[in-house]
């Protein structure tokens, strides 16, 4: 796998429907810029990413990969209300902000960085798919420095009680980010594997056959059921499990936040994050902390 060293990481999880001014106040801790005509999704993206690169020397040529399950659908609903209910043309910036990549634009502009700017989604595996794109860009030499994050609003979450299978997660706003480079010097960790599997048995086979050092910490995505988690624990025999969904709540971008929280909070060296989508496709992120 191409080298993907983590130079900093962040994870913001906020209470559902928190006052938007609270987000603006938080952002002011990291930048002088006053963001007008922006929505919750954009503010969440800015907050998580600015936390990630705070006091971190950033390459001018840095790409942005914003992953999300729902993007700006909240703003889209508001604009639809303007048209269908208020019977008026939408406000120009409201309409422009229905395009989710505006969040990645404001981030690149605030940080003064120049590079690729991609917003991508994939049901339940958005963050993992964003890492695929980053991996391809590093391998192909298109980029040598990148910010990658997952951002979603709590109000758009469709992880309802039935899907949670009684696990009782809080719904939160989530914004988890990583500053990634192919150079090891100064890194605090690395994505050592990003694997995709067409089904559970293939994933389990890879896990059984992997020859790396034992996994210290394991974490599971939202659609990994209890029985499946039990089988994986039995195979991996980790020292600990990080149940970030129980401890920090669920958002569409919970995987990015969970992995970011591991980098920031844990002393352990290795994490294996196992996730799946509703089709039964699996994705594994293997991460090493230094």
């Amino acid at each position: 796998m191409s080298e993907m060293y983590i130079h900093s990481a962040s994870a913001f999880t906020g209470e559902a429907n928190a006052d938007i001014n609270f987000l603006k106040e938080e952002i002011r801790r990291y930048t002088q810029e006053n963001f007008r005509r922006v929505n919750r999704f954009i503010l969440l993206s800015l907050l998580g990413a600015l936390q990630c690169v705070h006091r971190q020397p950033l390459e001018a040529a840095t790409a942005v990969y914003l992953t999300t399950e729902d993007g700006n659908l909240g703003e889209t609903a508001d604009v639809l209300d303007e048209i269908y209910t208020s019977r008026s043309l939408p406000k120009p910036f409201g309409f422009i902000n229905t395009m989710s990549n505006t969040a990645a634009f404001y981030l690149a502009r605030n940080l003064g960085i120049r590079g690729r700017n991609i917003t991508v989604s994939s049901q339940h595996l958005s963050f993992e798919r964003g890492l695929d794109l980053l991996k391809a860009d590093f391998a192909g030499g298109a980029e040598r420095s990148a910010l990658i994050g997952g951002v979603d609003e709590s109000s758009l979450s469709r992880m309802n009680r039935e899907e949670q299978a009684g696990r009782g997660w809080r719904m939160v706003d989530g914004s988890g980010w990583f500053y990634v480079k192919p150079e090891k010097e100064g890194a605090c960790g690395a994505f050592t594997e990003i694997m995709s599997f067409r089904d559970g048995p293939s994933c389990m086979r890879w896990i059984r056959e992997r020859e790396r050092s034992p996994v210290e910490v394991v974490s599971f995505g939202a659609l990994i059921g209890d029985d499946e988690a039990t089988a994986l624990r039995k195979t991996l025999r980790p020292s600990a499990e990080f149940d970030y969904l129980r401890d920090y709540g669920y958002s569409g971008s919970a995987a990015a936040c969970g992995v970011g929280l591991f980098v920031r909070l844990f002393q352990a060296k290795t994490l294996l994050h196992i996730n799946r989508d509703q089709r039964g496709n699996y994705a594994v992120i293997e991460l090493e902390r230094y």
Binding site: E69, L73, R87, I96, S122
Partner: protein, 391 residues
């Protein structure tokens, strides 16, 4: 070892119809179908032009529903699979790259016509995130690979093409399906009117009297593979994406980010500007786009800008879908022996000093540049070739 990605299958549906032969014939003879749509929801006393899919009664805007949305989508996908001649195992092996601006908003709007529920509440209940449409495609066709849904405004499906080709090139995947789909929706139509971006009657990119863009709807699908199946299959030589942070709605005055994107794409393709036979411009017909795109081409090519074509006057600005659909329209025209003209262009804008092709230009083998720009400063350039000796 790296390899090229080839376009081995394609299909599209747009205002010119759903047969590639018919679409190319309409382009060759400059046959354009333009509808005029009123702003009934907000009671404005005028209409704006729009390139509507209008093959029969089922295409009527008032008759559309979620079923219609998926019928269009699945039709384009199945015909592209057929065109590529893939077997069941090869289809299962594919990965899906989807690009759109509106995503499932047209589905919601279709359903909403039948209810009186609160709009935003109903939308949030009925929308299943950006990945939903790609999920529906893989489920319907038994595609087993990963799904990537790109949401980068008007460059969405161009970026889907860029990454599908890159992953094939890096040998991460064997084959990909790339879909660009945007269907008519009030959100986009009323939104662009709110920006005062829609032309009054005729599409005239780069023209002195240009007065904006005209939206269109289309669904285009291509199959990309690591080997050429038929002589004349186009291959992806290179590409680039870059963010212009000048403004969320417009490019910088000098077109420097757009020019840098073109230069990066040329470099990645391993060629120089002199190797480009023709450019498919993004050419939205808005004042800023055409001015900055011209500046960017001048910065990239100097005084020797290759022949430039603008294909939006044929099918409209299909926003996030334009990456795939304009690519199909352009490459199929070249296969048929010509680079399309630019209908609607009459008067040179002295500030631009650029005359796009006003008549079809004979074309054979060559290397071509396709440019795409979008809100959020998104710039994407693709370099394609149908030369046999560059595999």
């Amino acid at each position: 070892m790296k390899r090229r990605a080839f376009v081995t299958g394609k299909a599209m549906i747009c205002s010119l119809g759903d047969s590639l032969e018919g679409i190319v014939d309409a382009v060759r003879h400059k046959r354009i179908k333009l509808a005029h749509i009123p702003f009934n929801m907000v009671r404005l006393p005028y209409t704006r032009p729009y390139y509507l899919i209008n093959r029969n009664e089922r295409d009527n805007l008032d008759n559309r529903s979620a079923e219609y949305f998926y019928a269009i989508l699945f039709s384009a996908v199945s015909r592209a699979l057929l065109d590529a001649g893939l077997n069941r195992a090869e289809i299962k092996d594919m990965h899906l790259f989807f690009g759109s601006t509106s995503m499932d908003v047209p589905v919601f709007e279709g359903n909403h016509r039948r209810t009186s529920a609160t709009v935003s509440g109903m939308f949030l209940q009925s929308s299943f995130g950006y990945g939903k449409i790609a999920g529906a495609i893989v489920e319907r066709f038994g595609i087993g690979g990963n799904c990537y849904s790109f949401a980068t405004a008007c460059t969405s499906s161009a970026n889907a093409l860029l990454y599908a080709a890159a992953m094939i090139s890096e040998r991460y995947i064997e084959r990909a399906m790339v879909v660009g789909y945007d269907l008519f929706n009030n959100l986009g139509f009323y939104g662009f009117e709110a920006l005062k971006s829609i032309a009054a009657s005729e599409y005239r990119p780069f023209d002195r009297t240009r007065d904006g863009l005209i939206l269109g709807e289309a669904c285009g699908t291509v199959v990309l593979e690591g080997r050429r199946r038929k002589a004349g299959d186009f291959m992806h030589l290179g590409g680039a994406n870059l963010c212009d942070t000048y403004s969320v709605t417009s490019n910088d005055e000098e077109g420097s980010a757009a020019a840098e994107t073109m230069n990066r794409a040329l470099k990645q393709a391993g060629i120089g500007p002199e190797d480009i036979c023709a450019v498919k411009a993004h050419a939205t017909g808005t004042e800023n786009n055409d001015r900055t795109e011209c500046a960017a081409m001048r910065a990239t090519f100097g005084r020797h800008i290759p022949p430039v074509t603008c294909v939006k006057p044929f099918i409209g600005h299909t926003v996030g879908a334009c990456g795939v659909n304009e690519m199909i329209l352009f490459t199929e025209s070249v296969k048929a022996g010509f680079v399309p003209s630019t209908p609607g262009f009459r008067d040179v804008d002295e500030n631009l000093n650029l005359t796009p092709l006003t008549e079809n230009m004979e074309a054979g083998e060559g290397i071509f540049m396709l440019n795409y720009f979008g809100f959020g400063g998104n710039c994407t350039t693709l370099i394609l070739s149908n030369k046999d000796n560059k595999g």
